[in-house]
Every structure is written in C-alpha cells, then in structure tokens.
C-alpha cells in the first residue's frame, strides 16, 4: 500500500519534485557588485543630451559633460551621465542608489524624487541627471532602472 501511495504521489507531483530538485542544485549565475563611489546628481536647466544615458564612448559626450561640469560641484572625470529627460518644473531630484553586475551586464539603479503635490515650484523645464565615474566602463553592457 505504501509503495503504491509513493508511486501515485510521484506520478502526481513528478514535475513539482523535478522543479525542487533542479532548484536545489548547484546551478547559479555570477552576480556581483562594483564600487561606484564617484558620482554626483543635480539638475540642469538645459537639455544635456536627451533621455536615458550617455557614456564617454559616445560621440556627443564631450558636449554633454561640458554642460554637466558647469553644474556639478566636484571636479571629477565622469564617464557616464544619466538623465531622466525633461521635467515640468523645479522640485525634481535624481539620486544614484546602487549597481549590480551580472556577467558583463552592469545594472544601475536611480531613484527620482518628484515634488510633492501640494508644493510650489518654479515653472521651468528641468533635466535631473547623475554623472558617474565607472571603472572599465568599456567592459560593460549598461542598463538603467529608475525607481
């Protein structure tokens, strides 16, 4: 009776067991963190380069970093700029949260702070951005996430 019970159980839940077995196996991907300590976030009143990000390898980077360097306080050789694109007023802020590296895929996470609904803002188009210095930037495929 018991063997029959086991057999039925196995037949009914064979895919579940298989999933458990596979999940518990030693199969895993290479996740790691890289240190990005040099960065600065601010707001530009001028469009820097459009939406998303630009790296030092891009054609228009020099022009963009010139705009950024007029705004940021630290004098660093940034090689990556991320901008949310235009925002409708002052009061928007962008912060760099963290990064994660999976194989050669570098994921950067930013947090955008919006003005509270019941506050007063200057009605000028702004461009929140962060400028980062990423070591060996040419080695990575970079993606960006805003939360």
């Amino acid at each position: 009776m018991f063997p029959y019970f086991l057999k039925n159980c196995f037949n009914n839940y064979k895919f579940f067991y298989l999933f458990i077995l596979i999940s518990c196996s030693d199969f895993k991907e290479e996740y790691s963190q890289i240190n990005i300590d040099t960065y600065e976030c601010s707001i530009s009143h001028q469009e820097i380069f459009g939406r998303d990000f630009i790296t030092i390898n891009d054609e228009y980077f020099d022009k963009s970093i010139n705009v950024v360097n007029k705004i940021v306080s630290k004098s660093s050789k940034y090689n990556f700029i991320f901008s949310t694109g235009p925002r409708s007023s002052s009061g928007y802020n962008l912060n760099f949260l963290n990064s994660s590296l999976k194989n050669k895929n570098l994921s950067l996470v930013f947090k955008e702070k919006k003005p509270k609904k019941s506050t007063i803002v200057a009605t000028v188009i702004t461009y929140p951005f962060c400028a980062l210095l990423i070591e060996n930037i040419e080695s990575y495929n970079i993606s960006v996430e805003i939360i």
């Binding site: 007023s89 802020n93 509270k116 506050t119 007063i120 000028v124």
Partner: protein, 773 residues
Amino acid sequence: MRLLILIILSIWFLSACGGGGGGSPSFVHDINNVPKCSDTGTAFQTTEYYFMDYNDSTDKALAQVCASTAYANGATGGSGVKIGINDTGLHLQSDGKMDHQEFGDVGSANSRIILGYNSDVVRNDEVPEDEDGHGSHVAGIIGADKDNVGMHGIAYNATLYPIKTLTPRGSPHSVAGKYTVAWGFYLTDYYDLDIINNSWGYPESEIGVTCNSKETCESALNDATSYSYTYYYFQRMASEQNAMLVWSAGNQSKDNPSALNGACIYDSLVTENCVIVVALGTDGKIADYSNKCGIASAVCISAPGSLVSAYNDSTDSYYELSGTSMAAPLVSGGLALIKQVHTSLTHAQVIDRLFATAVDHDIYSQSSIYGHGLMDIGAATSAIGSLQLISANSNNLDSQKSSYTEIYENSFNSNSSFYSGLKESLKNKTIEVYDSFDRANFSVYIDSFLQNIKITEEYSATKHLDNLLKIDDDYSMMNNDYGVLKSYNTKSLTRSLFETNNNKLRIATNMQSNLFFDKSRTRMGFNSPKLITKFFGNPYFYNDNENVSLNINNKYVSSNLFVDEELDNIGISINIQPTSEDFFNNDSLGNIEISLGRSLEKNKILNSYGTGSFNISDISNTKFAAIKYKKEFEKINVFGNMNYGSTELKSNSYFLGNEAITTSSFSLGFIKSDFINRKNRISILISQPQKVIDGSIGLRVPTSSNNKREVNYTTYDLNLAPDATEINYDLLFARDINKNDSFYLNYTHIKNPIHSNSNSSVNNVSLLFKKLF
C-alpha cells in the same frame, strides 16, 4: 452587414452636413499657419536685440512679440515702471553688489535694481542672493541692460524689485513655498509695484479640475503655501494696490492652467488685473510641455517660452531655459512697455489692450489653446481706432463733460503774418491725443496741426500771372436815377459795386468800396483783386469771399464798413482826408487819407482760424491805424500805404487770451506813364505784407495724463513775431502795341517768403499779351 454599412454611411452623411452654419469663410482660420506680427523698428534690431533667441531657430523672442515696433513707438524700455519678481532672487555678491554686467552696479544712483526691506523673504534680509538661477534668468528676460553687451530685456529700463520667495533647488526645501509667497505679495503692496511676475506654480494641478471656484482655489493655494493668510494678501494686493499679476500657466501639458491661477477667473477682485501666460515652442505653436489656456482663455495670452537665452550667473555667460516661466516675464515686460507709453491707462486697461492687440488669427484663433493669441507689443503701443483730441479744459478722460474730435477735424489756419513765427514757437512742442479704443495717450507735434493753405499757392507762377489778368474787365452796368451798379462776372466769384451819382455812397460786395487809390491802379491798367489787396488794401478788412463793404462820403471824412456774410466779422473805419479838397489835382501836398478803425472777428484772430479744439472760441479785437498817400506829378504817380494794428484775444479754448499783438504792413511805389514813349508805362513797387512785429499768444494743451485718467495741461507762450520780414519787389511794364493789343510784363522778387529766412527767395516773371477782337 448591409444594415451596418447603411448606418455608418448615414452617420457620416449627418456629420458631413453638420456645422454648415458656421459663418462666412472669413472666419475660417488656417490652424496650421503660424502668423507673425510686424516687427518694424529697424533702428532697434541690434545684435543685442536678437540675442534672446532660439537656439537654432530664425525666430527671436523679442522679434516674435514685435518689441522693436514698440520701441519705435516711444517705449523706452519701460522706464519708470516698477516690476516685482516673485522668484528665487538675483545673483548678487554677499554685500548686495551686482555681479553681472547686465544689471550694472546695484546700489549706485542709477541702478534699476531695488533691494530693501525683506527682499530676501526666505532668509529675512535685504540681499536676495539667487541660489538657483531661475530668478536671475527671469529678471534678465524682463530687464537686462541695453548696453551693447550680450542681450537686453524686453523692458530694459524698468525698475526691478527681486523678491526672493522661492528657495533654491538642491536644498532641503527644494520646492519652496511656505509663507514666502505671501510675503512676496505683501511686499508688492509695500513697494507699490506696478507689475509682479510669478513664474512659479502648483504641480499637477489644473483650474477646473483641482479647483473650480474661488473658495476651492483659495483652499488649494493655502494648502500649497501652508499659510492661511496667503490668499488674503493676494486679494489685498490685487484690489488695493492694483498691481498687474502675471502668472505662468504651468508645464504639465494640461488643458488648463495651474490651479494657482484659479483666482484669475474665479475671483472678481483679481480678474481684471490678471494675466496667465502659456508658452510657445520654437515653431511658434504651443510648446508640448505648456499648459493651455483652457477655461481661462479670457485672461490668457501666449508668448515665446522655449530656449529663451538670458542672463546666467556671476560670469558673463548666458543660457537658454524653457518653460512658461520664460514666457511670463516677456509678458510682464510687455505690460511695462504699454504702461510706460500709455500713462493714461489704468492697469486693467493696460491688460485689456494687451489682449485686444494680440495676434489672434490662424493657429492663434484657437482660444482654448492660445487665449487671446500671440502677444504683439508693437500693436499694443500703436493707435487702435482713430486718434482724437479732447475738448479744451476737460480734466478727466472719462468725464461726461469731455468730448472728442477726430484728429483731422482739428487744425489752425494761420495767415502769413505770423505763420512762421508760430511754427518756430511750436517747434518740438507736443500735444497729447487719445485713441478711440480706450483713450490711450499718444504724443504728437503741435505744429502738425498748423496750416497755411496759401503758402503753396501764394508764390506760384500761376498766381503771379494772375496779377496781369484783368479779370474784372467784363462787367455789366446798370444805371438808374440813384446811381450805377457794376457787376463783375468771374468764374468763381461775383463782385459788384453800386455807386450813387453824387459819389456819397458806395456799396461793394467782395471788393473794397474805398476808392482812394482807384485812379492809380486804373492808370497802370492792372486791377486784379490780388494786386489791389497787396498795394492798396486795408489788411484788416481782408477780402475773402462773401463780404460787403460800405463807404459813405468819399471826401473829407468818410466811413468804411466791412462785414462778412455770417455777420461774424465786422470792421469799421473813420477816414480823414485833409487834402482832399481838390482830390486828384492837388499837386502841392498830394492826397492823404488817415484811417482809424476797429475789426472784430469771431472765432478768428487776424484772419486766422482754428477748427475742433483749436477753435478760437471768442472775439478778437483789432484796433488799427492807416495812412495812405498819393501824389500825382505830370507823368508820375507816387503812392504809399502804411498800416498798424493792435490785436487782442480773449479765448477759452486751447488758445488763451494774449497781450496785444502788433502788426504792420506797407507798400510804396510809383507808376510812370509815357516811359520812353507814350505807349509804355512802368511801375516799381516795394511792399511788405502784414507781419506781426511783437506779441504772443497763449496755447494751453493737454500734454500728459495719469492712470487715474486725469489730464494735465501745459501752457505755451508762443511768440508770434517771425524771425524775418518778407519784402516784395515788383516791376511792372505795360506797352500798348495798338488800340486793341497790349503787352504786359511783371517781374517779382520776394525776399524771405512768409516772413521766414529759412525760405528761399522767389523770383517770378509773367508775360501777357492781350488782344481784343
């Protein structure tokens, strides 16, 4: 399926038929066409003017609102207008000194930047240092210096009051507000500001959605500012201080402006002084980020707001910003220009004028998007309707006692005796006139109303030839027991003379009845009215059309009466002829006539008259004396004529009473018969037409008005004496070729025509051959 198709077709058909009654094609606007205003002030279109440009666009912000036309219309950058900038402050050094060339040296005597009590509301001091840049940029658009450096603001001479009410970005209070904006409004009252620019808003809010009444919008504003008295101050400023409020509409691409603008349509105390501004993109169409005018279209207007380049920071750099924040200061500056040019307008009227003159056709006809359309500050500073003069002594533009006449209905026709003197006295003097739209004031030169219709024709060759035409030759004559009536028939004027058989009474129409010089002139053979007046006439009994002249007893003592058809102008003289016993044959003394008389002219002075507000509303009184002399030698007839007069006027129009105006004229000459042979006659004549020797006239005209609609007058004391004396030199020659044929020559040299040494001398030669058939 067939039924469905039928239904769809039916709906399409009904739709196609609908809306057919929309009006004539003239109301159809091309909503793809972006029209422009007329930017015509080329003298002001400098590199600096175009600096506030769009990055890669041919359109320029100032040109797009036709600011140069406004400058050409007399708007000198809004000087004297006080504009508050409720914003993040202005880039300053810690000691309050300006650190940018575009605003000169704050604190100096000529500075247009006013810092004072609580200018920095955020930090509660007098140095509103801009920690953001937004307020400085807005200030630059409004009023950066016009100094041939960089750019200049639209109202480059306005007085600016930076009031720091917004905290900078990046600080813990990056989205400022709190009670500071309330203080901003309070300071508007404190500093007695004319305009306050508000390039700030209330995110994610919308009139008609977030709030839809005065109460709910007030509540929304109070929530936003966390200050329960904010709205109180707002209302107080608008209703009591009467400042013009300019609001940016917001940048959330919504169909209606920000809820902060709600008071503009829901609060009657605010509405008439409120302007909401939406931003245009570089293509002239509504910017993709800009809120639209929506339900606030009645108080809404459009202005460039994208990539507007202006003042930056402590360096000499400039940068471009976009937003309704940039459109609003262009409108604030535009209002300053209107206010400066048209001081007679209330603030509500300044705004009405801004709206009324906006470009509102083609795409801008869509009021739910563009409100009144694209701001056209050139049109707003130009006349709307017709220009008019206010009636004399009207002290208020809106008073029922004030009446207006079209500008072309006003003139002053001066005779030549003081035309050039009057013109010189009026040089560069102005009078204020008003347009028919809202009585906006304009300044024009008074001498533009001054006319002398005779000037152009007086010295013409045609007129000169008339001297020789014997236009009175053809007359009909009637005799009866009492006397002789001669009727001279000319093309334009009937002249007649009745003379009693005993020469005791002469009655003339449109000619003089005094015959003192008749024999002289008939000897010469010229008797045109012009020459009679020039050499023999009484200049105070001018010989215009439709008058009657009466002479009683033409010997010893006689009297002349002159009156025009309307009985407005009456003159009388007593003539004494001490040597008239043997009137034409007294070889020893010659013949003398001394005349004393008086001329009373209604609505005239010295045969000069005004129309409209220049009408002379009383009677001028001229006392005159004349002496005439003639002596006839055997073949030479010598004569002279000298006249002096003193004229007084009591008037209550633009023209005022005056001290006595002294005038004089003279003529002197001779006629020689049998010159060389019996067939020839020659005459040389020198004459000075009537001229004012001394005297002035008062002219009291409106020259300014204020926004209480009060009219201020200036009284000019106008010297009527010309700076030169006109002298005529005439040479006349006549030759009788045979009984029926004659030849005439008249050469005239006129020095200082119209008693003005600025007029070139005139030389005319006329030849006439007369043949009788």
